[in-house]
């Protein structure tokens, strides 16, 4: 497949991203550069100066909603990508509605209880939709321990599954970026496996 064929193939898919922080913003940028046609992004936060240490935002965007800023940044990467941005807090109730029609969903929350909530919701309310989770991305070094582990066809986890964010292990651009790009790569890999016949159904 030529790279134009790959982009053409990827352009027909819709991918959900839950959270637009370190994992979500970097993953969205990688998917936009890869040519994934539609990105559904949801976050309720505003950009703070500290976010710039790892998130895909710029100094002049501090104070702006992450959803608005990310949509803007994706348009600068590739104006053909359709971005559906929702500024609200994701819950068990709105997740199936917001991400309805998505071929794959990327979990990009910061908090462990939110990660648990979306896994339980997607697995029970949206059966068959693969969810790519990030877990264990804090600190620095030992990047070989960050991997993508397939639990089954509907659940993948990117990260080391052991390093939790703390004073000694802050979130930093390199490891967060590695995991976010690993999530994006898993999305591309799964979408490339879907044949073009998929669209004629």
């Amino acid at each position: 497949m030529r790279s134009s064929d790959i982009r053409n193939h990827l352009s027909r898919f819709r991918v959900g991203i839950a959270g637009a922080g370190g994992l979500g913003s970097n993953c969205a940028a990688a998917l936009a550069r890869s040519g994934v046609g539609t990105l559904v992004i949801c976050d309720y936060d505003v950009i703070e100066p500290a976010n710039l240490s790892r998130q895909y935002y710029f100094t002049n965007q501090v104070g702006t909603l992450k959803t608005i800023a990310l949509k803007e940044n994706i348009a600068r990467i590739n104006p053909d990508i359709i971005v559906l941005a929702y500024t609200e807090k994701l819950t068990r109730t709105n997740i199936p509605k917001i991400y309805s029609g998505c071929d794959i969903i990327v979990e990009a929350f910061d908090r462990d209880d939110m990660k648990e909530m979306i896994i339980e919701t997607v697995q029970s309310e949206m059966p068959g939709v693969p969810l790519i989770v990030g877990s264990g991305v804090a600190g620095w070094g030992n990047t070989d321990s960050i991997r993508c582990r397939k639990i089954d066809d509907t659940l993948y986890v990117c990260g080391d599954e052991s390093t939790e964010v703390s004073e000694e292990h802050p979130l930093m651009a390199p490891r967060v970026g590695i995991a976010a790009n690993m999530q994006a790569d898993t999305v591309v890999e799964l979408l490339m496996k879907k044949s073009s016949d998929y669209f004629r159904l």
């Binding site: 910061d110 209880d113 648990e116 339980e120 697995q123 639990i151 990260g159 939790e164 967060v176």
Partner: protein, 67 residues
């Protein structure tokens, strides 16, 4: 009984164990996790009542804050 735990064979005592008993036995104390048995997610409030049996495929995923 023999089960598959995160893609590895494990011998556990008895013919069945609840998820809670298995966690205690294996000294898995970390709280934030997802457990799937034969591809089906077990909600946290069902850990005491869900049984693990011979041949089951148990997958555990740890959830770490940060992202």
């Amino acid at each position: 009984m023999k089960i598959i735990l995160n893609n590895r064979e494990e011998m556990l005592p008895g013919e069945t164990l609840t998820v809670s008993e298995m966690l205690l036995l294996k000294k898995f104390s970390f709280k934030m996790r997802i457990i799937k048995i034969n591809g089906v997610l077990v909600p946290k409030d069902k850990y005491d009542s869900t049984l693990i049996k011979e041949g089951d495929n148990v997958q555990m995923l740890y959830l770490m804050s940060g992202g």
